[in-house]
Symmetry: C2
Subunit: 200 residues, 2 copies
Amino acid sequence: MPSTTPAATTRLAGPERRAAILAAATELALSEGLASLTLRRVGLRAGVASGLVAHYVDGMDALVAEVFTGISARERDEVEAVVRDAGPGLDGVVALVRTLTDGSRDAVTLVWVQAWAGSPANAELARAVRAEMDAWQALLERPLADAGVRDPAPAARTLLGMIDGVNAHALAGWRDRADHAPLLLRSLEALLGLGAGALG
Amino acid sequence: MPSTTPAATTRLAGPERRAAILAAATELALSEGLASLTLRRVGLRAGVASGLVAHYVDGMDALVAEVFTGISARERDEVEAVVRDAGPGLDGVVALVRTLTDGSRDAVTLVWVQAWAGSPANAELARAVRAEMDAWQALLERPLADAGVRDPAPAARTLLGMIDGVNAHALAGWRDRADHAPLLLRSLEALLGLGAGALG
DNA sequence: CGCCCAATTGATCAACCGATCAACTCGGTG
DNA sequence: CACCGAGTTGATCGGTTGATCAATTGGGCG
């Protein structure tokens, strides 16, 4: 009975191997941050030699940018589903704020903050960050517009800034997590000209 | 005429040398980010051997935390002066928002974002970040309270979150800098229950 | 003046990094 | 079955890092 190792690496076609490496890099980034992405560590995680990682990737900067985009895009999909399930109008926005501040997405927050921090030194990453932020702004604008907000763009940008700022603060363990959602919702009420408690 | 080198390093007493090294590290962090702080580069900047830097510092994590605290504290002093000079009440808050979003403090923003990103891996830095954020919240609360805001704490935290979030966004080159201040001021008007344009 | 201790040097270590590339090995095709 | 090319390996290179420490140097004090 030789070779009981379940996933004794079989040979994969190029694109599949590339996908597997990207998946391993994504897992690694989510558990230890973008800064942990090195040829050797990604290779280890993927069960593959470091040279193979280099072979399928156009430099580490590109890998980091691609992993970041994948993580952000997946989170957008998840949040979009949350918004959809929460019903129409402002209920969706409330659900969005809650799911983005309940601490269940700390790993993603770390990735975002590392992406901002790394943008000045990694042009590809900076480009990816800008593109993802555009997509996030669009995601926020939709339910706001549905709810009858006349000019959703500034509100979406402000809300995005508040969410990102508060989450960055939480990375250092500042203040109580539970405070975040009520704080943001009360600010949003004011921003939209609603009465206090309308969203709480 | 030997030795025309003007600043041929003279010997300094322990505490003075330590201060000089810290000053060099601070310059370096402001021009190239916290991530550029290495024993060798700090030593080069200070005109001193790398071993001497290590001798006066309790590990790089501690150096980074100390440099961060110094940079943040100095910026607080500057901003406090801006608030004071702007006159009483909300004028101070408006001036604060303007000076913190006009792009003249990009170097400090990078330091802050890198500090959040590094907090999970550097406990000393995380502690320093929390302490500085407490101080910043207090700084924001003061003019808000002076202006008659009944509960300045949540408003200060929200404003701090918005400022930090928007500045982090700017690091990746997202959107136009000039938009930030008006956006934040309009949000602040709503937050404080003022009429549109009251702060603009 | 001469000594002594504190300040300072710089070589050294082990560990890691990204990148490269010759060599190997499998899988499918002929 | 034999072969050939694509997938894959892993050693290797030049570079960086934080940390350590014996050796050196300089300045002030006796």
